[in-house]
Symmetry: C2
Subunit: 200 residues, 2 copies
């Protein structure tokens, strides 16, 4: 066959992209180099020209997801007020999860997280860093007396993340029947009511 030869940099990106897309349909355990290769238009063994092996591909997928989450956090910085900023972040996260079913499922999947201590640490850092980003927004809100100050910002941040997390799980379990966007709106109402500072 006469497959075009491309720079390894480009191939790496294509391979990671293909992997993430495939993860929307199948789970990590099922994701084989053969599937990835076919989607990119290569032969399985060609993957080894660009990655050490399957594990390395998964690492790269993880990095890519981390980048995307950081990006989300950066995008909402333009919003000055804490609560609206959180709402933006929530809605963005919901959209992200809906378009990219792979992410929440993959990032917490056993194969990614359990098998390899190094990778577990990496995921932990990704989550921690997202969590801290959210906690920082909440602290801003507390300083500005917009968010009740009698609760630890991290606890609130975890509750906040839990909204999408639980929603994503139910959505997946229900085969998409569960309306995560609607749930997120309701949960947001409750979240806002219960964390906003009392208006004096």
């Amino acid at each position: 066959m006469s497959t075009q030869k491309l720079d390894s940099q480009i191939r790496r990106r294509q391979i990671v992209k293909a992997a993430i897309e495939l993860l929307g349909t199948c789970d990590v355990g099922e994701l084989s180099l053969a599937m990835i290769a076919r989607r990119v238009g290569l032969v399985p063994s060609a993957i080894y020209r660009h990655f050490e092996g399957r594990e390395a591909v998964l690492d790269a997928v993880l990095d890519s997801i981390g980048d995307r989450l950081r990006e989300n956090l950066r995008l909402v910085e333009q919003e000055p007020e804490a609560l609206p900023r959180l709402k933006s972040l929530l809605m963005m996260h919901v959209r992200f999860v809906r378009e990219n079913q792979a992410i929440p499922r993959t990032i917490f999947s056993d194969e990614i997280v359990s098998r390899n201590p190094g990778r577990r640490r990496k995921v932990y850092q990704i989550i921690q860093s997202y969590l801290q980003g959210v906690a920082a927004i909440i602290q801003d809100g507390q300083a500005a007396e917009k968010i009740r100050a009698d609760v630890d910002s991290t606890t609130i941040a975890m509750q906040f993340l839990g909204i999408v997390q639980s929603g994503a799980i139910l959505r997946h379990l229900s085969d998409g029947e569960f309306d995560i966007a609607r749930y997120a709106r309701r949960a947001w109402e409750h979240f806002r009511n219960s964390t906003a500072a009392e208006s004096p």
Copy 2:
């Protein structure tokens, strides 16, 4: 070898028990019939005397977990007041998750949930039924004016479940460093404050 011959009923229980114990250490994908057999004191092929195959063993594991969750829900029925009842349930669930690391990780694992539509539905029902149990407690509380009535009971129930869920994930990611019990206590405080009905 002269392994004692036991009734299939007994062997099935032993096999499921062994599987759940092993899942505390390894993930579903790694769980092989060989590991299970060794722990029970059998040879891999012997498993087939008691189960159709690996899939059937996993189904049985799932059923067992479902039983256990229903059991928890039943245990707190003795507590009459809604909020204390929820607190009991939360603490019981936390203990359950700590002692049985397998459960939250297994029940949401891709291999259990993604590969087999029938199993996904089964998990969905297990969760839904637990969720409804929690929502029922909350409705009781709302009827008794102990829990604010301006929020959908299901939304509150999901938030409630999210406490353990997120905690279990962080605990796993952090290699047990994250103190889920401490987190659960804090989250409970916040949960109670934000869902209790205003005292007039």
